[in-house]
C-alpha cells in the first residue's frame, strides 16, 4: 500500500517532447481548414440523413423553431449578439422557399450550409500553446497557493510550498499503461461526471501525467464567464451547448469530434453527458460522441489498413467525499422524478463570483480526491496490452479491424456501429463500477440510508425522504455492526475484482466511521450524517444522504443490511 501511495505521488515526464508534436497544436494551426472539413463532413451526414428536399426543409424548419425558442426561453451571456438576426434571416429564406410551388433545393442547401458553418465556428476550440502554458502555470500555482493558505491556516502559508496539488489529489490505477498507449495511438479518456470541478480536475490530471493536452467538450455555459472562458480555450476545450438539441447541431458536433480523433487528437468525453444528478455512478451513457470514436477507428482502418492508428478508450473515475453541488443536483433529480414537468436547466455558474467562491471552497476546504485510471480497451471494449494489441477474454490476440469486415472487406454500416457503441458503453459502465473507489463516507452514507430504508420498508422513496426527525436516529452499535458487515461484503467483491476501495479503508471500523463522518459532505450547511449527543447516528438532510448513498448503488449490497 505504502509503495502504491508513493508511486501515485511521483512526477511524470511529458511523453511528447514539444508542443510542435501535439496533434492539438497541429489542429489549431490549421484551424480554418479543419473547420472547413468539419463543415463538409457534417453537410454530407445531414444530407444523407434527410432523404429528399422535403425532409431537408422540414429539418430546417424544426431547427429554426427550436432555435427561436431557445433564444426566447434561455438566453445566455455567451450567445452572439447577432443570434436573433441570423435566425430571422433563416426564417425569411425558408419563407421564400415555401412560397414557390417547386421548392428550390439549392436554396435549402445553402441555408443548411450557413447553419452548419455557424455551428462549426461556435464549437471549434481555440487552442494556443503559449496560453496553454500560461493557464497551466496559473492554475497549478494558484491552486497550490490556495491549498497552502487554507491548510496551514495562516496568512504566511499563502507563500509556502509545503503542500502541492499532489498531496490533495491521488492518482492511481493504470497510469503507466495510459502513458505508454498515448504514445502508440489516440487515447480517448471517458471520466465519470459528478461535479463542475471535473473538467478542471481532469485537465490537471492529464497535465500531471505528462500527457499532451486533450481536446474536450465543455459546456458552453462555462464560457459565460470571460476568465473561465479564457482558461477553457487555452486548455483545448471545444464548446458543447446542451440547449441545442437539433439534428444539425448534433451532427456538426459529431463531425468535429470524429475528424479530430481521426487526426490523432487525444480526446475526452464525459459519456454520462451531464453531471450525475442522483449521485450514482453512471449506468446509462450518451452514445453520440462515444460513437465518433468507433467511427474514427473504422475510418482509420479504411484509409491505412493494418497500419491504422488505434484508438484506445480509457475509463476514469473521479472520486470525492464531497460534491459541492450535491444539494441542487439531488433537488433537480427529485423534482424530475416527482413528475414535475418543466424544470429549467439552471446554471449554478452564472457569475464569476459564484465560480470563484466555488473553486475557493473546493480547493481550500474539500477533502481528499482520488482519480482512478481504468484499464485501457479498444473500441469494442476488449483488453489491450502495453503494445496496444487487442485480446479476447481467453488471451488470444484479435484484430479490431475484423469488426468492420464483411466478406473480407471493410464495410460502412451505421446501424452496426450504433450497436457497437451500445456495447462499448456497457463495457465502460462495467469498468466504472469496478474502478470507482469506495470511500469511508460512501460506506457510512449507504449503510445509514439503507438501515432507515429497511425499518420503513413500506414507504416509497418520497415518503422515506420526508420521515420525521425522530425516526432517523440509528443506535451506534447497530450502525457499527452493519458497517462492518457491508465492509466485509465489499472486500469479497474486491477479491472478485468487482470493486475497489481507497487506502484509508484499511483500518478498523470505528476509525473508518470516524473518518467517514468527518468527510461526508463536510461543507454542506446541513450535514448528511452526524453523531448525536448520545453518540448515535442521525442525518440532518435525508436528500443529501440519499445522494451520497447512491454511490454504492448497483452492487447488490442492499440485501446484506
Amino acid at each position: 500500500m505504502k509503495l502504491k501511495r508513493y508511486r501515485s505521488k511521483r512526477k511524470y515526464e511529458p511523453i511528447l517532447p514539444g508542443p510542435r508534436e501535439w496533434p492539438v497544436v497541429q489542429l489549431s494551426r490549421n484551424k480554418k481548414e479543419f473547420i472547413k472539413e468539419v463543415i463538409e463532413e457534417a453537410y454530407g451526414r445531414i444530407k444523407s440523413n434527410t432523404r429528399n428536399k422535403t425532409a431537408l426543409i422540414e429539418e430546417l424548419e424544426t431547427t429554426l423553431y427550436k432555435e427561436k425558442a431557445r433564444i426566447r426561453q434561455t438566453p445566455w451571456k455567451v450567445d452572439p449578439d447577432d443570434d436573433h438576426e441570423f435566425w430571422s434571416k433563416v426564417k425569411n429564406d425558408l419563407l421564400e422557399i415555401s412560397q414557390h410551388k417547386v421548392k428550390d433545393e439549392e436554396k435549402a442547401n445553402k441555408i443548411l450550409h450557413s447553419i452548419i458553418e455557424r455551428y462549426a465556428e461556435e464549437i471549434a476550440g481555440n487552442f494556443n500553446t503559449s496560453h496553454y502554458r500560461f493557464a497551466r502555470g496559473v492554475i497549478t500555482f494558484g491552486f497550490n497557493r490556495l491549498l497552502n493558505a487554507a491548510r496551514i491556516k495562516k496568512l504566511g502559508g499563502f507563500w509556502s510550498s509545503e503542500l502541492t496539488m499532489n498531496d490533495k489529489i491521488q492518482i492511481n490505477g493504470e497510469v503507466e499503461k495510459l502513458r505508454t498507449l498515448a504514445k502508440k495511438g489516440t487515447v480517448v479518456i471517458v471520466p465519470t461526471h459528478s461535479s463542475n470541478l471535473d473538467s478542471i480536475l481532469i485537465g490537471w490530471v492529464i497535465y500531471t501525467l505528462g500527457l499532451p493536452p486533450v481536446i474536450y467538450g465543455a459546456g458552453l455555459n462555462l464560457f459565460n464567464i470571460s476568465i473561465i472562458s479564457y482558461f477553457m480555450n487555452s486548455l483545448g476545450a471545444y464548446k458543447v451547448d446542451r440547449r441545442k438539441k437539433n439534428m444539425i447541431y448534433l451532427e456538426t458536433l459529431k463531425s468535429y469530434s470524429a475528424l479530430a480523433l481521426k487526426k490523432g487528437c487525444q480526446s475526452l468525453f464525459f459519456p454520462g453527458g451531464t453531471r450525475s444528478r442522483d449521485g450514482r455512478v453512471e449506468k446509462e451513457l450518451k452514445l453520440g460522441l462515444l460513437g465518433t470514436a468507433i467511427e474514427a477507428q473504422r475510418a482509420n482502418y479504411q484509409e491505412h489498413g493494418n497500419d491504422a492508428e488505434k484508438i484506445f478508450i480509457v475509463p476514469v473515475s473521479l472520486n470525492y467525499h464531497f460534491v459541492l453541488e450535491a444539494p441542487s443536483l439531488i433537488r433537480q433529480y427529485l423534482e424530475k422524478r416527482g413528475q414535475e414537468r418543466y424544470y429549467v436547466e439552471n446554471d449554478e455558474f452564472s457569475s464569476s463570483y459564484k465560480i470563484i467562491t466555488f473553486l475557493f471552497k473546493f480547493f481550500t476546504k474539500g477533502s481528499d480526491i482520488s482519480v482512478s485510471i481504468g484499464d485501457a480497451m479498444d473500441i469494442l471494449g476488449n483488453k489491450v496490452d502495453e503494445e496496444g494489441k487487442s485480446f479476447d477474454s481467453t488471451g488470444r490476440e484479435i484484430q479490431p479491424k475484423d469488426y468492420f469486415v464483411f466478406q473480407d472487406k471493410i464495410t460502412v454500416n451505421k446501424q452496426r456501429e450504433a450497436e457497437y457503441t451500445r456495447m462499448l458503453a456497457k463495457k465502460i459502465v462495467k469498468q466504472y463500477s469496478i474502478i470507482a473507489r469506495v470511500f469511508s463516507s460512501h460506506l457510512i452514507a449507504f449503510v445509514a440510508f439503507e438501515i432507515i430504508n429497511k425499518k420503513n420498508k413500506k414507504l416509497d422513496l418520497f415518503s422515506l425522504l420526508r420521515l420525521p426527525e425522530e425516526d432517523l436516529v440509528i443506535p451506534y452499535s447497530e450502525f457499527k455492526t452493519t458497517c462492518q458487515r457491508i465492509k466485509n461484503k465489499i472486500e469479497d467483491r474486491i477479491k472478485e475484482g468487482r470493486m475497489s476501495q481507497a487506502e484509508h479503508m484499511d483500518d478498523n471500523i470505528d476509525n473508518i466511521i470516524e473518518h467517514g463522518l468527518l468527510n461526508l459532505g463536510m461543507y454542506h450547511s446541513k450535514r448528511p450524517l452526524i453523531k448525536t449527543e448520545e453518540g448515535d447516528i442521525t442525518t440532518m438532510d435525508m436528500n443529501l444522504l440519499y445522494f451520497y448513498r447512491n454511490r454504492l448503488d448497483g452492487y447488490g449490497l442492499e440485501k446484506h443490511i
Partner: protein, 351 residues
C-alpha cells in the same frame, strides 16, 4: 453445382440433428454448405448416400468433421446443436473464430452458468446472469458479436417435405437479419426480421413447456376447448417469464411466439409434444427419454423455468405443475385438476 451463390464463401452449419439438416437443406438451395458432423457414421452417410436419419441431403451440402476448417472457410455459420452441448461446442469452435464471423443459431434451450459447486437444487435464487440464452453463450465464449437466431414454426419433417413455412431471424444487427433473409428465402420459405434477439430466443425456448402440456392434454383426450385454454394461458405464462428475462412482449405475439406455439402444441411431429402425450398415457419420464432419438429441450427447460419463476417472483402455474409431474411423481390427472382450481386471474394484463 447448381447453386446461385449470393456470397463468395460457403455457409457453415454445425450439427447434423434433424433441425440442423433442415437448416442445411434450406441454405443449400441458395448456397454451398459445409456441414460439421461429429458422428463419423453420419458424415459418411451424408457425403456418400446423400441421406441421414431418413432425411434426404441436398447435393450442395458437404459434411466435414473439422471445426477449424469450417471456421476458416465460412464467414457465416449456423450452429444448431442441443443446448446441453452448446457451450462445449462453442469452446471448441471459439479458437478459430474472428470478429468478422457471423453466427446465427437455431437452438431452443437455455444454459445455466452457476458458480462452482452449485446446482439448480442448491442455488437459493437465480439471478439473470446465471441464465444464458444461446446468443449469450456465443458472446461469452467467443469474440463474435454479430449474432442472430432462427425461431418460428419450423417442424423439421414438414420442411423436409417441402411444405411452405416461415421463420424469424432475430438480431440487433440489421446486416445479420438481411443475411439471414438472403440465405434462407425461397419460394417455399419466408423470412421475417426482428431486432429483439433475447425475446425471440425466449419464445423458442419457453414454448416447449407448453408443447409438453399440450401433448399431455392429447394423451388424456381432453379436447380442443382445453387445448385453447392451455395455449392462451401458456402464452401469458411465456410472456411473464420472457419479460422477467428481458424479452419484449411484442415478440411473443409474432411468428416466433404465438406462431411457433400453435405449431408445436398441435403437431404430433414435435418431440416435446410426444413427451407430454406419452406421460399422460402412463409411461415414465425415464423410459420416454430413453428411447427418443433426439433431445426434447422442453424437459430441461421446465426445470430451469420453474426456478426462474420462483427467483423472479413470476406467476407460472403451468410450468410449476409440469415440474411436479415430471420430477415429483404427480399424475397428469391431478395436475389438470390443480390447474382448473387455480384461483382466477385477469385475462390479459401483460400488454
Amino acid at each position: 453445382m447448381a447453386s446461385k451463390n449470393i456470397f463468395d464463401k460457403p455457409i457453415g452449419v454445425v450439427g447434423a440433428g434433424s433441425f440442423g439438416l433442415s437448416v442445411a437443406n434450406l441454405l443449400a438451395e441458395n448456397s454451398e454448405v459445409l456441414l460439421y458432423a461429429r458422428n463419423p457414421e453420419a458424415l459418411e452417410s451424408i457425403n456418400k448416400k446423400r441421406e441421414w436419419n431418413n432425411y434426404p441431403i441436398h447435393q450442395n451440402i458437404k459434411a466435414i468433421d473439422d471445426l477449424e476448417q469450417l471456421a476458416s472457410t465460412c464467414d457465416i455459420i449456423f450452429p444448431v446443436v442441443p443446448s446441453a452441448n452448446f457451450r462445449d461446442m462453442m469452446k471448441s469452435l471459439s479458437p478459430f473464430l474472428h470478429p468478422y464471423h457471423i453466427l446465427i443459431h437455431g437452438t431452443k434451450g437455455l444454459n445455466l452458468n452457476l458458480p462452482a459447486g452449485k446446482t439448480l437444487d442448491n442455488m437459493e435464487v437465480l439471478e439473470r446472469h446465471h441464465i444464458k440464452t444461446m446468443s449469450e453463450v456465443i458472446m461469452d465464449e467467443s469474440v463474435v458479436v454479430r449474432v442472430g437466431c432462427l425461431a418460428g414454426p419450423n417442424l423439421a419433417k414438414e420442411i423436409a417435405q417441402g411444405l411452405p413455412a416461415a421463420t424469424v431471424v432475430a438480431s440487433p444487427f440489421n446486416e445479420v437479419i438481411q443475411i439471414g433473409q438472403q440465405l434462407l428465402r425461397s419460394d417455399r420459405f419466408q423470412v421475417y426480421g426482428n431486432p429483439d434477439l433475447i425475446g425471440i430466443e425466449l419464445c423458442g425456448v419457453l414454448k416447449n413447456i407448453i408443447a409438453i402440456a399440450s401433448g399431455a392434454l392429447s394423451g388424456l383426450g381432453l379436447g380442443e376447448n382445453a387445448r385453447s385454454l392451455l395455449i392462451s394461458r401458456g402464452m401469458a405464462e411465456m410472456i411473464y417469464l420472457g419479460k422477467a428475462l428481458g424479452g419484449d412482449v411484442r415478440s411473443f405475439i409474432g411468428l416466433a411466439g404465438i406462431g411457433d406455439l400453435m405449431a408445436t402444441s398441435h403437431s404430433t411431429l414435435s418431440r416435446n409434444f410426444t413427451v407430454g402425450r406419452r406421460l399422460a398415457e402412463g409411461e415414465s419420464l425415464g423410459r420416454i427419454l430413453g428411447d427418443m432419438q433426439e433431445v426434447a429441450e422442453g424437459v430441461n427447460t421446465v426445470m430451469i423455468a420453474k426456478k426462474i419463476a420462483e427467483s423472479f417472483k413470476v406467476r407460472a402455474p403451468i410450468t410449476e405443475i409440469l415440474h411436479r409431474v415430471l420430477f415429483e411423481g404427480l399424475t397428469m390427472e391431478e395436475a389438470v385438476q390443480y390447474l382448473m382450481k387455480y384461483p382466477l386471474n385477469v385475462d390479459v394484463d401483460f400488454i
